[in-house]
């Protein structure tokens, strides 16, 4: 993340990212030209609190990036079959990138890609100690455990 980056934080608690409306929001925004604020724009953490485990999913978006929308040339009325033909044609969507149907298709594809990625990412463990915070791997496998122990031994 560059210094001076304007952050827009999208966050929700105790909702699975695969079911979260925020994931759809991010997919829609990316399809409309929004950008992540950083390469590590997604975090999924679980923290032990007095009220039990708390899961927090956060997306960091570039708050300064502009999303531009251009109107389609003419208003039109189309049948379902025409809608389906356009929606299922990637070539048509790319050729008509400003058309609402292209946005819908892009959002759907983007959402699927996000879900595929999110499903491969195990939540991290967030640990607070005074004012310090550690985010460590939460896996039960040996490698994760070794990394976790190493970080926590210096925490």
């Amino acid at each position: 993340m560059k210094e001076g980056t304007t952050l827009s934080i999208v966050r929700d608690h105790d909702t699975k990212p695969t079911e979260s409306r925020n994931t759809r929001l991010i997919a829609a925004a990316l399809s409309s030209g929004a950008m992540f604020a950083t390469e590590a724009a997604y975090s999924d953490t679980v923290e032990q609190t007095p009220n039990g485990a708390k899961r927090t999913v956060t997306w960091l978006m570039d708050g300064a990036a502009k999303l531009s929308f251009e109107p389609i040339e003419v208003a039109e009325s189309i049948t379902f079959d025409e809608f389906r033909k356009r929606y299922e044609s990637l070539d048509w969507c790319e050729a008509n990138a400003n058309h609402p149907i292209a946005y819908l298709r892009a959002m759907n594809d983007q959402h699927n890609r996000l879900l595929d990625k999110v499903k491969t990412m195990r939540p991290m463990l967030l640990i607070r100690k005074g004012k310090r915070i550690a985010i460590v791997p939460s896996g039960s496998d040996e490698a994760s455990k070794a990394t976790r122990d190493q970080i926590l031994s210096e925490f």
Partner: protein
């Protein structure tokens, strides 16, 4: 059971010299530890994990008793001239422990050579390597500790190295580090890591992941 505070307090009142079997031994000091490294006394430095033979254990114990009781000048001279105490140690044992390591008549080259010093040739090579690699070269551990203590206390080098019992010197070294805002943290234990990252929470995350899939 004694806790850390008990050990620290006991160390602070530990006497300097000790009389054992009619032999006056200097306190185990930083200098003793340095000699133990030079004489390869792994029983005292804790280096090496191989089981020692009885002969090797005997060599180390005899050498230790000699280096802690012979005049410091003599011990240091033995280090420098490479004879490093073996004949003297034998004299010491004959006179003081009534045991001659060569009494069985066998030639024991490993004993003769056991005290030979690792001269600085190897270290010089590593220094040159370090320069080429741009590594930071640190002073020896003893110089570092003595410098740190002397800087804060003004005590003489000889006193810190040879007369100050190591159990106390280590505490003063710790004080110096702490006064320079260098803190020593309690080593983590299985329990302390468990408290931060309990298995139940890891198990809960396992279940979350399963549900997500």
């Amino acid at each position: 059971m004694r806790n850390r505070n008990d050990y620290l307090a006991t160390a602070m009142i530990e006497p300097g010299e000790r009389q054992i079997g009619g032999i006056k031994l200097r306190p185990f000091s930083y200098g003793s530890m340095q000699l133990a490294y030079l004489f390869k006394l792994s029983l005292f430095t804790g280096e090496g994990d191989t089981e020692q033979t009885d002969e090797e254990k005997q060599r180390q114990i005899v050498t230790f008793a000699w280096m802690q009781s012979a005049p410091i000048d003599e011990v240091v001279a033995a280090v420098h001239d490479g004879s490093a105490g073996n004949p003297r140690a034998q004299v010491f044992t004959r006179h003081h422990l009534r045991h001659d390591p060569r009494a069985d008549g066998r030639d024991q080259p490993h004993r003769r050579n056991g005290f030979s010093l690792q001269r600085s040739g190897g270290k010089q090579i590593s220094v040159q390597r370090g320069r080429r690699a741009g590594k930071v070269l640190n002073p020896g551990w003893l110089a570092s500790a003595v410098y740190t203590i002397a800087k804060d206390t003004g005590w003489r080098e000889e006193f810190i190295i040879w007369k100050l019992p190591m159990a106390r010197a280590l505490q003063y070294y710790h004080c110096s580090l702490q006064s320079a805002n260098l803190w020593t943290l309690e080593p983590p234990t299985e329990e302390s890591i468990q408290a931060l990252a309990p298995d139940e929470l890891i198990g809960l995350i396992d279940r979350m992941t399963d549900e997500d899939e």
